[in-house]
Amino acid sequence: MTAATLAGFIGSALVGLGLYGLITDPQPIRKILGFNLIGSGVFLLFGIVARKGAAAGFAADPVPQAMVITGIVVAFSASALAIALVLRLYEVAGPVSLRSEHTSNKAEK
């Protein structure tokens, strides 16, 4: 088994694990962790694609690698915005999980 094949399994499993966390965990910060796990699994799949594209003297195709670098920065920005929202929500409303707010259908005061 090559490192690329193995990484393929890890990447797929990470997507599954992250998705499970995202669906089942009510705490927003855990959902953010789940999103990051899925993200890193997706990036790994880009890595395998890159490795399988080794050619022209390069150990891996540079194009998907560059996309991963872009993706990691975007994922960080997303986490930062999500965390800022979570912290602001706690400041304004106290501890809330995402499931416990079906208040939006009430008429405005």
């Binding site: 993200g39 799949l45 996309m67 997303a78 304004v92 939006s104 259908n105």
Partner: protein, 503 residues
């Protein structure tokens, strides 16, 4: 109609494509740098210019009859990135420029920096992010590379989410957080599909891919993941849960842009995926599923809209329903059939007329909420007498949603209905008609008390100019109903025929 030969050479007018994206990007950077009132001035200054660029793109496209192309950096795809504009792109660019400008003009009253203060939080955020929505939508409509489009939908998410909670209430922050999680999840699954397509074909350029893809498992998995991700962002039933709280609780100018335009961005990419990347892969089964979900959205969204107590929530649930109509075009745009062009025009017409009608209705609802201090539907009795222009704008928008003539909504539904009967699939037509009846029901719930003769006192009358903005948008939705045949020919520019049986 085959787009392959012009895949990789810039065409006349191609420079307008990058200009349409870079202009608002420069606006974003300049607005943050100079801050305060300058952000508003920069945004309002750029809007007419951007509208001019969108019109110029449409004119070039009309003259050449072929998609416009611009190759960025001189590196042809697959190594480099190309921008392309077809008929659908061009009308979306113009629509976006108009609605963003209308929302901006309307919002000047709310998001002006207060006198005596050099800079305030909500105004600066609003003016920067409004330009950001505009920039990222233009990129969505013009991007020719699937990874570049990933960056576009992420930009769109970052621009849209903070607009939901500008008022800092717990309710809106929680709606924004939920919206962000749905959107991020959607883009990560889109990206997963992109990785698989690159791994299988070594390019992400839409035109190059369309020549290389064949019906094999990796394509189906990739397309399934990308579609699922984009559906979450488009809020198609059953992935619509995030939309009503986010769209209903945002400031009205933001709701208008979110409901009219932002959800159309990811819808546009679903169309790009199935009709741009995968036209050579027959996909009637997928189209059936999408249309079935669309039908469920129409019925479910409309029934929920009937039960809402607040006007803005009613409008938000109506968006859930109207998004459903967009997906009815999928099973009808299949194979080399005669009705394909009609269905395609109908789908695009629905996208445009809903955009104008919904923007008008949210802006009108915003004026009502501001003037009354609430938007409870049962306490709107008599609003028609004190705010006739606003209610007229709301009603005209509603006319288009119901699909009554003369309106863009009527024309859209008429075309789709005709295509569904010609295709021998009257079931989609039946869904459309019942959706129209339900829309009439939920609009009656607003209009009947509003037009009653009760006497209502306003806290503050609305500004005439802001009512005029809502009315202008509603009139545009009506005017689309008079679109000449040339307009529908224009929509066909660059459409690629979808492979498949001519059932």
């Amino acid at each position: 109609m085959n787009a392959a030969p012009i895949a990789s050479a810039s065409t006349a007018g191609g420079s307008l494509l990058w200009l349409a994206i870079i202009l608002p990007v420069v606006g974003i950077l300049a607005s943050l740098l100079s801050g305060g009132r300058h952000a508003e001035r920069i945004a309002l200054l750029l809007m007419p210019t951007g509208f001019g660029i969108a019109i110029a793109i449409a004119i070039f496209l009309w003259r050449s009859g072929q998609p416009l192309v611009y190759v960025i950096g001189g590196f042809n795809p697959p190594l480099g990135i190309a921008l392309r504009a077809d008929g659908f792109s061009a009308v979306m660019l113009v629509t976006t420029a108009l609605i963003v400008a209308a929302a901006g003009f309307y919002a000047r009253a709310i998001f002006a920096t207060p006198p005596g203060i050099t800079e305030a939080r909500a105004p600066l955020t609003f003016w920067i992010l409004l330009q950001a929505i505009w920039a990222s939508l233009n990129l969505v409509f013009l991007g020719g590379d699937l990874f570049n489009l990933y960056v576009a939908i992420e930009l769109l998410t970052f621009a849209a989410v903070p607009l939901v909670c500008l008022d800092s209430r717990a309710e809106t922050i929680s709606a924004a957080l939920r919206y962000l999680l749905f959107a991020l999840c959607g883009s990560v699954f889109y990206l997963l599909g992109v990785a698989l397509l690159y791994g299988a074909y070594g390019t992400l350029d839409i035109v190059l891919l369309s020549d290389r893809v064949s019906s094999e498992p990796v394509v189906w998995v990739a397309a399934g993941l990308m579609t699922a991700g984009l559906l979450a962002k488009t809020a198609l039933f059953p992935l619509h849960l995030w939309l009503p709280p986010a769209h209903a609780n945002a400031p009205a100018a933001c709701s208008a842009v979110l409901s009219a335009l932002v959800v159309k961005g990811s819808f546009f990419l679903i169309v790009r995926l199935w009709f741009g990347v995968l036209p050579n892969v027959p996909h009637e089964a997928v189209s059936f599923i999408l249309a079935a979900l669309g039908s469920a959205a129409i019925l479910f969204g409309s029934v929920l809209a009937l039960q809402q107590e607040r006007l803005k929530l009613l409008i938000a649930y109506s968006t859930v329903a109207q998004i459903g109509y967009l997906f009815l075009m999928f099973p009808l745009v299949q194979g080399p059939n005669l009705w394909v062009a009609e269905a395609w025009s109908g789908g695009i017409m629905q996208t445009l007329s809903h955009a104008f009608a919904k923007a008008a209705m949210f802006l009108a609802a915003g004026l009502i909420a501001e003037s009354l201090g609430h938007d409870r539907i049962r306490d709107l009795r008599g609003i028609g007498a004190v705010m006739p222009m606003t209610l007229f704008a709301f009603g005209l928008g509603g006319l288009s949603l119901m699909g009554l003539p003369p309106s863009g909504g009527f024309l859209a539904k008429w075309l789709l209905l005709k295509a569904s009967i010609e295709a021998g699939r009257p079931i989609w037509g039946a869904v459309m008609l019942s959706g129209g009846l339900l829309a009439a029901g939920y609009l009656y719930r607003v209009l009947a008390p509003a037009l009653s003769s009760d006497i209502l006192h306003l806290k503050a009358p609305p500004r005439r100019s802001r009512e005029a903005v809502a009315l202008a948008l509603a009139l545009t939705a009506i005017a689309l109903g008079f679109a000449p045949k040339a307009f529908f020919d224009f929509l066909q520019i660059g459409r690629v025929a979808v492979a498949g049986g001519s059932s």
